[in-house]
């Protein structure tokens, strides 16, 4: 055992030494932004570096807002964000035009903790909006009972939980609520942080999940990958076609496919409440924000070849890391956009 280990160690260090001595002077590219896709981005940049040892992409997962800000200030080569840049944000970058490249997809799920209820609950858009507006205050509300026959709801107050930190997740959740509830749209709106009408705030996915777990009769929203990795119970949501859909990779990708038909040329699109019978309604793209001009030709070529690789080989890593991959029509459209980088 120990001999094998020793040999392994020697072999490894030999590889390391050889590797470091042959490695070419690397073209270093710096990027920063969203935390939600950080896991797969790190993996991609690592794998891409293996294929192209002369390209080193560093990614700092600081948050979407920070990514946009650093891109605007020109301190990074490209950014990443869980929400498309607004016209106001784009207008602040005058030297270049920023291109949006969707990379993977994510979904948000309603997770809950009701003592005595083990069933997978069905939520209509109206009941979710009602709960988050603080209008549906008890679990045994008629609206909830109607969609969940046979579930024995307690006569208990609903404890609403939301994210306290500004996040792309909150943007997607409130964007969805704004689309399905005019009242939400006028009273609260969509944003990375909003003025919540009710509820407790938890920091990060883990904060929301922890608060839901410890507070009886609570409901919160977390990213699908977080719920899947932590084996949390989560409900189904009725989509625009009228079917109750539970989030998984397929139903999230389906939402993107449904939205792809009306995809604008700049890819700045929200796919919440997307059409499609199987589409999961609280889904979202996450984007790389790439300037359309680079002064440095090597950098430009490196980024272009990375994007090509990401859309083809890169997508295969998605499922293993609990992200939903891009549907084919979106990939085809993005491949054309790569040519716009000069």
């Amino acid at each position: 055992m120990s001999v094998t280990r020793q040999r392994l160690a020697i072999a490894l260090s030999a590889i390391l030494i050889l590797g470091s001595s042959v490695s070419l002077p690397a073209e270093t590219i710096n990027a920063a932004g969203a935390t939600f896709p950080a896991v797969i981005y790190q993996k991609w940049f690592q794998e891409f570096h293996k294929l192209h040892p002369d390209v080193q992409i560093n990614y700092q997962s600081l948050g979407s807002g920070a990514g946009i800000q650093q891109l605007t200030q020109g301190t990074v080569d490209f950014g990443a964000s869980d929400m498309p840049m607004t016209n106001e944000q784009l207008s602040k970058i005058t030297k270049v035009k920023v291109l949006h490249f969707p990379t993977v997809l994510g979904g948000l799920v309603p997770t809950y903790n009701i003592p005595g209820v083990t069933a997978i609950l069905n939520f209509t858009p109206e009941s979710l909006a009602g709960i988050y507006l603080g209008k549906i205050t008890k679990w045994n509300d008629a609206a909830l009972k109607k969609d969940n026959p046979g579930v024995n709801f307690p006569d208990a107050e609903i404890q609403v939980v939301h994210r306290s930190d500004g996040s792309g997740t909150t943007f997607v959740w409130t964007d969805y609520l704004s689309k399905i509830s005019p009242e939400w749209k006028s009273k609260v709106g969509a944003g990375t942080s909003v003025a919540w009408p009710t509820g407790l705030g938890g920091k990060g996915n883990e904060g929301v999940a922890g608060t839901v777990k410890q507070t009886a009769n609570s409901i919160g929203y977390v990213e699908l990958i977080y719920a899947a990795q932590n084996k949390m119970a989560y409900g189904a949501i009725r989509n625009s076609a009228g079917t109750f859909v539970r989030a998984d990779f397929d139903s999230v990708s389906e939402a993107a496919a449904g939205a792809a038909k009306n995809m604008p040329d700049d890819f700045r699109v929200s796919i919440t409440n997307a059409p499609g019978k199987k589409a999961y309604p609280v889904s979202s793209f996450t984007w790389l924000l790439i300037p359309n001009k680079f002064d440095n030709a090597t950098k430009k070529n490196a980024i272009q070849s990375f994007l090509k690789w990401m859309l083809a080989e890169g997508q295969k890593f998605a499922a293993g890391l609990d992200y939903a991959a891009l549907p084919q029509p979106v990939v085809a459209k993005e491949e054309k956009q790569i040519g716009l980088i000069q």
Binding site: E88, D165, G166, G191, T192, L200, G201, Q214, T215
Partner: protein
């Protein structure tokens, strides 16, 4: 350097070096002056930066920022009142709990406990000060919050629930949980500094009191503690500064709700917590300006409280010198 001085023959150059060494007063004076000034300059620079970067928010909201309670990033309406309230309330609650306990513990450790026990306890207490605040927050989520929601808060509601201070659902998360965590976090500061200043009281003071016929407790309470009061008050204000600025542990248990509640059981928010939560994702000049202005407000609160601490110390010092 020392060897260089010894090795050098007594020549004019060396003499001037020795002379310069002898004139060290001036060099030391200059160097320490620079150090002191740098602390002052950092503070000034900090205020300047906060002032400049909050210009958008100051221009838009003026003084009204301090007195309005809406916090709506979507509509870009910002007011600091719920955060000021939450910050002051949780810190006050923390000191209310920690001061009597920690000062009591310090008196025991310095005056009554056998030296071995005292040293061991002090070592453990000082270890507490080194625990990162996120650990306190995690511990609170896993132990304090469930305890409060299952036993602590129902008990308060059943006994003193008629008071507006204890109304609302027993969630566990809220001002009370934040105050308790802060109390625990401020223990080591008060205990260890108070103990040091109690130990620094000259033994003659105690002996004199005992010789006059005072009991052990009378000597401690009427002679030793008043003698050490400056150190004790200082430790309390250090603890207060820690409580006001604490971020991570507070945001994990306070519930992060920017509204003002009379009940300690309700969720609230503090200045440091909202800055940490929202700054990274804050887009738009006004939103960022409002968050920076909150930082300025926290700075002001700290200055006001520190100034009142100085006044308090001044007042008690005068009283003390009259007694002497």
């Amino acid at each position: 350097m020392g060897t260089a001085v010894i090795a050098a023959p007594p020549q004019p150059a060396a003499r001037s070096f020795l002379k310069r060494l002898r004139d060290g007063d001036k060099a030391a004076h200059l160097i320490t002056l620079i150090f002191a000034a740098s602390v002052f300059l950092v503070t000034v620079f900090l205020v300047y930066e906060l002032w400049i970067h909050s210009s958008t928010s100051r221009a838009k909201f003026g003084l009204g920022f301090l007195f309005t309670s809406s916090w709506d990033p979507v509509a870009e309406k910002f007011g600091a009142l719920p955060f000021i309230y939450g910050t002051v309330l949780t810190s006050f609650l923390a000191l209310l709990i920690s001061v009597p306990l920690a000062v009591g513990a310090a008196i025991f450790l310095s005056e009554l406990a056998p030296p071995k026990l005292s040293n061991t306890c002090t070592f453990l207490v000082e270890l507490l000060a080194a625990v990162p605040s996120v650990i306190y927050g995690l511990l609170a989520i896993f132990t304090l919050v469930p305890f409060l929601s299952k036993y602590g808060e129902p008990f308060l509601k059943n006994t003193v629930g008629f008071l507006p201070l204890f109304k609302g659902a027993p969630l566990g998360y809220g001002y009370l949980a934040a105050g308790l965590v802060l109390a625990i976090m401020t223990f080591p500061f008060i205990i260890s500094i108070s103990r040091e200043s109690l130990l620094a009281v000259p033994i003659e003071q105690r002996e004199a009191a005992l010789a006059l016929g005072a009991t052990k407790w009378e000597s401690t309470w009427q002679v030793v503690v008043p003698h050490a009061r400056l150190g004790i008050i200082g430790s309390i204000f250090l603890a207060l500064a820690r409580a006001l600025g604490e971020t991570m542990a507070v945001t994990m248990v306070i519930g992060n709700d920017p509204s003002i509640h009379a009940s300690l059981l309700k969720p609230g928010y503090t200045i440091a917590a909202v800055i940490a939560n929202e700054f990274t994702e804050a887009t738009g000049d006004l939103y960022q300006g409002a968050l920076v202005e909150l930082g300025l407000v926290l700075f002001l609160i700290t200055i006001i409280l520190n100034a009142s601490a100085q006044l308090l110390i001044l007042a008690t010092t005068k009283k003390g010198s009259k007694q002497d």
